[in-house]
């Protein structure tokens, strides 16, 4: 019954939308209003006004930079929200597994028992432990540096090629997530702790909004990067280009940290004990 009503709603909705397409301009028509009114300005002016060849980056971080600041804030909000919703601090874990490395014997330690030191001899393992992950680990270790370099390239080269802070940040985050998957969550946590992720994400958005506020202090409008020319010692157009780079770095930091943070919380149900 419910299903029928839902289905009818969906079909009606679709039919209504289909009827509307009759008045759409043809797909790919260069004379459609969308391509005629606002966007030609960006295409023609982005080089003279911001000195950034990738128009999307120029519009994203400068003409509509305010949107992008909130886009970064949305990501930051998601990170905080996941933490706020999921994170639980367990004083004592219920069951833990340790492996005696020389002999390969697995110890199951229940609540209250004494835990061995996390040493070379005893290796803490997840409840769902797969011992033969040598290939995964080695491959991950080999490719992660290249992923990181590629991510940095994407952030830095966003002015000239597709990419930018957001994409680069996601790739950086993905590299750390890959590490967390191929090793385990605790190793990843040692490399990048939750606290570091939280503070880094804050730093990233702070760089963005702070750059905007700096322009405000330099007696320009909020996010008007041309005001940075005074500090950077370049002409206003180049200052815009540099401003975009600074902002992109902020975006990259936030996105990386938040992606890792969300992954930590989701994959361990907020306990940060065992990952995937």
């Amino acid at each position: 019954m419910n299903k029928t009503i839902g289905f009818i709603t969906v079909v009606l909705c679709g039919a209504m939308l289909l009827l509307g397409t009759a008045d759409f301009p043809h797909w790919g028509d260069p004379q459609s209003p969308a391509s005629r009114h606002v966007s030609p300005y960006y295409i023609e002016k982005s080089i003279p006004e911001t000195s950034v060849p990738n128009i999307v980056t120029a519009v994203l971080a400068d003409y509509r930079g305010y949107d992008t600041m909130f886009e970064t804030t949305v990501i930051f909000t998601a990170g905080i929200a996941c933490f706020f919703l999921l994170r639980i601090r367990r004083k004592e874990p219920i069951i833990r597994y340790y492996r005696h490395v020389p002999t390969g014997i697995t110890l199951r330690i229940e609540k209250g028992a004494k835990l061995p030191e996390d040493s070379k001899v005893f290796d803490r393992i997840d409840t769902l432990y797969a011992p033969h992950d040598l290939i995964n680990k080695t491959t991950a270790r080999l490719i992660i540096p290249f992923i990181l370099i590629f991510a940095l390239y994407v952030i830095a080269h966003g002015h000239h090629s597709p990419g930018g802070g957001f994409q680069g940040g996601v790739i950086l985050g993905a590299a750390i997530i890959l590490f967390a998957i191929s090793y385990d969550l605790r190793s990843a946590n040692r490399k990048m702790s939750e606290r570091a992720a939280a503070l880094l994400s804050t730093t990233g958005v702070f760089i963005y909004a702070g750059t905007g506020a700096l322009c405000l202090l330099l007696a320009s409008n909020f996010l008007d990067y041309s005001a940075l020319a005074l500090i950077l010692g370049v002409d206003p157009v180049t200052a815009r280009s540099h401003g975009i780079l600074i902002v992109e770095i902020g975006v990259g930091l936030t996105v990386m940290a938040v992606m890792v943070w969300i992954y930590y919380n989701l994959s361990s149900r907020g306990q940060h004990d065992e990952g995937l």
């Binding site: 679709g14 028509d29 128009i55 998601a78």
Partner: protein, 133 residues
């Protein structure tokens, strides 16, 4: 025959977005499984992104990156040579919003599972009914 084909070519992308959006909406309204609903939500959001990207397309134009950009005023940039960049910018933002919503929704789903031990809406309602009695 040619007429039909030209209408098809000029509109099929918009029809495609409607189909995808309805697939997402269908999953959101009708499916009982929470993760399925979340997938439906993501599909609906991508469908709208697809619609925006379709708006931006321009025939006989290239991607919105100006080649040899720094040669100065020697090259005149003509708007008709480049695809409309504005929808792309808007949709970058929308993708970010979509992944943020996805993260929060999954966190809530895990919280629901922690409490009820199931992801099926009707099973949760049965459980609540039993609890009330």
């Amino acid at each position: 025959m040619d007429d039909i084909l030209s209408i098809l070519i000029s509109k099929y992308n918009y029809w495609g977005y409607i189909i995808l959006m309805m697939v997402g909406l269908y999953a959101l309204i009708i499916k009982k499984n929470l993760v399925k609903k979340i997938i439906g939500m993501s599909i609906m959001q991508t469908a709208i992104i697809f619609f925006y990207v379709s708006i931006g397309v321009k025939k006989n134009a290239t991607i919105p990156i100006i080649t040899h950009g720094h040669n100065g005023a020697a090259d005149i940039v003509r708007a008709s040579d480049y695809i409309n960049p504005l929808p792309h910018v808007l949709m970058l933002t929308a993708i970010v919003v979509a992944v943020a919503t996805l993260g929060v929704a999954l966190a809530l789903a895990i919280k629901v599972y922690r409490h009820y031990g199931t992801l099926e809406e009707d099973e949760i309602h049965d459980f609540l009914k039993k609890q009330a009695e």
